[in-house]
Symmetry: C2
Subunit: 346 residues, 2 copies
Amino acid sequence: MKTAAYAASKAGAQLAPFSIDRREPGENDVVIDVLFCGVCHSDLHQVKDEWGGAKFPMVPGHEIVGRVSKVGGGVKKFAVGNLVGVGCMVDACHGCRQCEQHHEQFCEKGCAYTYNSTEMDRTTPTYGGYSKQVVVTESFVLKVPENLDPAAAAPLLCAGITTWSPLRQWGCKKGDRVGVVGLGGLGHMAVKLAASMGAEVTMLSTSKAKEADAKKLGATGFAVTKDPETFTKLAGHFDLIIDTISAEHDLGAHLGLLRPYGTMVLLGVPPSPAAVHAFSLIGGNKRLAGSLIGGIQETQEMLDYCGQHSIVSDVEVIPVSQVNACYERMLKGDVRYRFVLDLATI
Amino acid sequence: MKTAAYAASKAGAQLAPFSIDRREPGENDVVIDVLFCGVCHSDLHQVKDEWGGAKFPMVPGHEIVGRVSKVGGGVKKFAVGNLVGVGCMVDACHGCRQCEQHHEQFCEKGCAYTYNSTEMDRTTPTYGGYSKQVVVTESFVLKVPENLDPAAAAPLLCAGITTWSPLRQWGCKKGDRVGVVGLGGLGHMAVKLAASMGAEVTMLSTSKAKEADAKKLGATGFAVTKDPETFTKLAGHFDLIIDTISAEHDLGAHLGLLRPYGTMVLLGVPPSPAAVHAFSLIGGNKRLAGSLIGGIQETQEMLDYCGQHSIVSDVEVIPVSQVNACYERMLKGDVRYRFVLDLATI
């Protein structure tokens, strides 16, 4: 099936209209007419091949919401017309210990990412959601609650699950003191989700200018991390810190903000290793953890929860033709808090 | 009460006979005639004031086993003749959130360490177990199972609880793959305890020479960490790594040995911060944690467990007069695996 898309032809190229061939739907496949696709910061990194090994032409996009337009004969969970989503993965081996434990993102054979990757045959390139249609095996398609705005729900598929998973892994609950470091696409979802769980959320930002927004999103506290006093005032304060920053910052200082047995979870990958002194962990049985997106089952749980609590992302919907301009704005931090491409405009 | 002891008069001084005044037992105090006291590596650091702020004269020793010789009128849990132990702490505030949660080592007012510290009055110096008697408030005295050799049980009060606590915090259980980094006083207890819990234990050591010993202690696997192949062969292998090393080593490489959702717990404090790349945690939802001794309740649980499973430390019992020579041997790594002072010789 010929599908209209936007692609980068080589590393760093501007995205331009492109036509891709989607496979004819197999027995277990779901054909999805894409309505909206979020623009994740990782799209920029991959288009520029900043992580190495990028495959071109590249059709980015892994925050996909659309409607089912066709299903294979063996598909059980979905019917034509259903509102559905696709996140960062489109397949995995289904047989390893990680897949069995619903951690497909750590599939021992390597999962198939939604773009800049290959299907499990390790040959067929995958193309993402900056396109009119996607064809995905049923078990990697998510149900999107019909009460959610489909454009604003799109970023849940990556920014939502990436922040939901660590909050669940570390048992965020009513009354917990949660710090969120960085108010961007991830940070704004972390604030909304943690606040909805009853946590007392404090935004930790380099910029005082973000205070009003943070409070609107559900934070009750705000502290500026450029102010050294923050680290004495809030020493030992947090049960959990969700750190969304990809720029260099002092992890040791942030660990000092945790109470004993508290955890700081890293979601962003700064370019260089950070210096961590063992005593900043030992003095308080603290934990420094990482978290990568989430498995399919927990992504569905997150979507169901967001449906029940009417939680979506704050988005700015743009026509696909403006994607290059939106990348420029993202590099300047000029986004509140997620751009979403309207695929009706392709 | 005048009590015979061994003390360092100033930083780096040789230990020499010394007389200290122990308080007359108050209502809740237990007087203990010390039988044995283990020699912990931290004794050496503190005698040399390597951590700063050391108080002299210093009577080290926080791995104390003895018999109750007198009790205050309000003491309920202990009677004259009981075999008891004292670990790294002799008191705490009893009222803060950490004390209420049985994490006295993180008492918000600061616990009273057994030596090189003060009682909770913040004035009276504390003196450790290199002495004929100690007087300790009931709630910081532990019951030592009578079936254990009291000399070999002494190191349980620090080395035992320090390795027990992370194994319990991280749910070590039958079939788990546990790596223990470093075969010293802590490492040998970590191997014994993890093996007793049914884990499949691998010793990770810089020295091939330790293999036979590691296997005798209960390890079924052995790998040399100076061999780069270890880090490819055992990549993604462990559920839990207990890292007992206080020398610089590559934490990132060790994190690569963990399976997804695995944890590495640091017990030793290398002098400089380690470089940790966020991706070594994010790529597998891994955890880097610290752990500091353990609370009084979990120390009692550990002692009860060791009684049921007949677990003690491997020790070399020496007369108190040889303590300086034993420090020299420890600096050369010539100890298998804990020196214990026989207080009958004082």
